[in-house]
């Protein structure tokens, strides 16, 4: 308020224990994400040291399990930290935006003349997510999603990377017949399965398929929508996700793929960190291939519309957005992309000025894909209410083990999305 420090001393909820005197730049993140906080620490000691002297970088973290609950409680008390990871569900983020808790940074970026430092694809993903044409968060992470495949297994069975959904289904049948589990997916998490439904919809009905549902022009229970869920349920009924996919957790699903026990893995590009780790990846990093989610015959969408996400982006609270925070923002936007790629191998939504020379193959592949993709699409639940998101993901396992039909699934999600 007086412009002398990052955070007002009142409460300082995000800062937790620190009795915030003037001159702190508080950051609150999820325990689970160490990349952002590590990168910011590096910046504070290097490129942003001037900003850090004016307002000291003060990070804190809480477990992701209660992330949305804590953010809500803090926001309810006007106690959000200056900078921090955004709400886990986009619909909660919309509530923050509507109640004026979160700062619109598009004008500031323009004034500083650095709006082009943010990749257009990343910016549009965030905007679509929050349902505005303003920017309310920074893309500290930018991922593309698609199928990773075991080159050796496909070659052994005479399969080329599928370009259409039907080819993918045929390939799965062939692999299954050869005694190889076609897909590895965590039914416990649910989302790796529901993503397939969403992507099928975009390929079949066009990239605006889920936008229409969000606006009430179409329903998930319409026959052309149910078809997508039916297609995925059919994979489950055929046993292509292996035995008991509902009890496969995230680690196990990656591990199945990386130990050569499954041929395809639908996953985001963040998994390249695991693929590049020899201790985990037993099939060898050269053996990992990638293809975009395939086309659907006669569909309105196309496979160059890459499913993308920004992980959990980072936001500035309106309350803490004073001069020293603005200075920090400028420094972050200018330097974050290079630093995080160099130090952690994470691809962010910032423009990279000096790409490091020794990037691993998989990371390069991801960067190329991002650069060449003309447009991106959001995931299945991106525009849904939190309740529908929960319902969808908790029923994803049911699709994968064939116990839930496409029609049942879509009805459950549609009902939850209306409430």
């Amino acid at each position: 308020m007086t412009g002398c420090g990052g955070s007002s001393s009142e409460g300082d909820g995000g800062g937790g224990g620190s009795t915030a005197e003037a001159g702190t730049f508080t950051y609150l993140g999820q325990n689970e994400n160490t990349t952002i906080v590590d990168t910011l620490e590096t910046l504070a000691g290097d490129q942003c040291s001037t900003e850090n002297e004016a307002a000291k970088f003060t990070p804190d973290a809480i477990p992701g399990a209660t992330w949305d609950q804590q953010l809500q409680l803090l926001a309810g008390q006007e106690g959000l930290s200056d900078f921090g990871m955004a709400a886990g569900t986009p619909s909660l983020m919309k509530q923050f935006i509507e109640s004026g808790q979160v700062q619109d940074i598009s004008t500031e970026l323009e004034e500083m003349g650095i709006e082009d430092k943010i990749l257009p694809a990343a910016a549009s993903t965030i905007q679509a997510l929050h349902g505005t044409d303003k920017l309310y968060a920074l893309p500290t992470e930018f991922n593309i999603e698609g199928f990773w495949y075991n080159k050796q297994l496909l070659e052994d069975n005479g399969i080329t990377p599928p370009e259409t959904w039907d080819e993918l289904v045929d390939a799965a049948a062939k692999l299954q017949a050869a005694g190889i589990q076609p897909f590895s997916a965590s039914g416990e998490q649910g989302w790796p399965v529901t993503r397939l439904v969403g992507n099928y919809l975009m390929r079949d009905l066009g990239p605006d398929a889920l936008q229409k549902v969000a606006e009430g022009e179409a329903k998930l229970t319409d026959p052309e929508y149910v078809k997508a869920a039916d297609e995925v349920a059919a994979l489950g009924q055929a046993g292509y996700f292996g035995d008991a996919p509902t009890s496969i957790d995230y680690d196990t699903s990656l591990n199945l793929f990386m130990t050569g026990k499954a041929a395809f893995l639908y996953m985001g590009s963040w998994a390249t960190t695991a693929f590049n780790d020899e201790a985990q990846n037993k099939i060898g990093v050269d053996n990992v291939g990638f293809f975009s989610f395939p086309d659907v015959d006669g569909g309105k969408g196309s496979s160059d519309q890459v499913p993308a996400n920004v992980g959990i982006p980072t936001m500035f609270s309106s309350k803490g957005f004073d001069d020293s925070t603005k200075a920090w923002m400028e420094c972050i936007v200018n330097n974050y992309g290079d630093t995080v790629l160099k130090d952690s191998g994470v691809v962010s939504g910032f423009k990279v000025e000096n790409p490091p020379a020794d990037l691993p193959e998989t990371t390069k592949l991801v960067q190329e894909q991002i650069a060449n993709a003309p447009s991106s699409v959001l995931w299945f639940e991106a525009l849904m209410t939190s309740q529908a998101t929960t319902v969808s993901q908790s029923n994803g396992g049911g699709l994968a083990n064939g116990s839930v039909s496409g029609e049942q699934f879509m009805k459950l999600v549609q009902d939850a999305n209306q409430g």
Binding site: D12, G16, G64, Q69, Q70, G76, D249, N255
Partner: protein, 304 residues
């Protein structure tokens, strides 16, 4: 399952023997035989409890890949304490344990002192309205803890207590109170009233009555409830997660979540190391309290 029948069977069978006709030796054999099914049940029960615990400890030595790829019953390939160092050094487990100790023991002491006193007043003393107050406490047992989170968060925030361990301390006391009061009242009820009445006739004051007559008689119960509350507080996750919004304040249970990564990844080794340490700590407490209870029991039987 079958435990129900087999534990009761020997009881009845024993009584149907006609001792006079059996020789001593035959009787002993029959006695052993009649106890056999019971002993088997006990042994099975012990295995069902001990084996999983051993598994938890063994798991704390396994690597991530062993945990994911090796079968359930396989032994860890090495006994290196890597997971433990990771849990303590990278995970900051020591701090979490300290926080748990700092907040759990004082709350526990306050709960027991206040709860016992209240139980005494509500059951032994005679006054109007005690039934109503007892019911008010009982109502607290019925309310789900999730319901008090938002208002309490608001209160603590406004009082500037957020960012300290005080919210946990107060919440633990409040939430432990209903059950303690209710259980203590139950135990005081089991004591014959004549004991108190006799003491008052001897001219004892009410505080002496509480301290020297009432308290020794419920000593046992006090330790039992202490045990119950200790494990409730020590294993609490919901309250701890809600009121400690900072790394440095985390308790051990919330700290165990520290080994979870983004997108649902879990570092199993350090998680199990944390679990093993937490379990070891509680085991020590338990053995100590259990000894106290046993002392109380023997003291009681000598008197009786």
């Amino acid at each position: 399952m079958s435990t129900a029948q087999s534990t009761t069977a020997p009881l009845t069978r024993k009584s149907s023997l006609t001792p006079a006709r059996d020789s001593r030796r035959a009787r002993r054999i029959k006695r052993i035989l009649s106890r056999l099914p019971l002993d088997i049940v006990i042994v099975l029960l012990l295995i069902a409890v001990i084996y999983p615990i051993i598994w938890l400890v063994l798991s704390s030595f396994k690597s991530q890949s062993e945990f994911l790829n090796a079968p359930f019953w396989s032994l860890p390939s090495s006994w290196s304490p890597t997971n433990y160092t990771m849990a303590f050094v990278d995970g900051g487990l020591g701090r979490f344990i300290l926080n748990s100790v700092i907040v759990v023991f004082p709350s526990l002491a306050v709960i027991l002192v206040l709860g016992t006193a209240a139980g005494f007043v509500l059951e032994v003393m005679v006054w109007k309205g005690r039934a109503a107050v007892l019911l008010t406490f009982l109502a607290g047992v019925m309310v789900p803890a999730q319901m008090i989170l938002l208002p309490l968060f608001t209160i603590y925030f406004r009082l500037h207590l957020t960012g300290t361990l005080w919210p946990l301390f107060f919440t633990y006391i409040g939430i432990g109170m209903p059950l303690t009061v209710f259980m203590m009242a139950t135990f005081f009820r089991a004591i014959p009233r004549e004991l108190f009445e006799a003491a008052t006739i001897d001219g004892a004051s009410i505080f002496r009555l509480f301290w020297q007559v009432g308290l020794p008689l419920v000593r046992n119960a006090l330790f039992t409830i202490g045990l119950v509350q200790f494990f409730f507080l020590w294993n609490d996750l919901l309250i701890s997660l809600t009121f400690t919004n900072s790394q440095g304040l985390r308790t051990i249970q919330a700290g165990l979540l520290n080994f979870t990564g983004q997108y649902g990844a879990v570092q199993y080794g350090p998680t199990f190391a944390g679990i093993a340490v937490s379990v070891l700590g509680t085991l020590i407490i338990y053995l100590f309290l259990n000894q106290q209870i046993m002392k109380g029991l023997t003291a009681g039987s000598v008197k009786g």
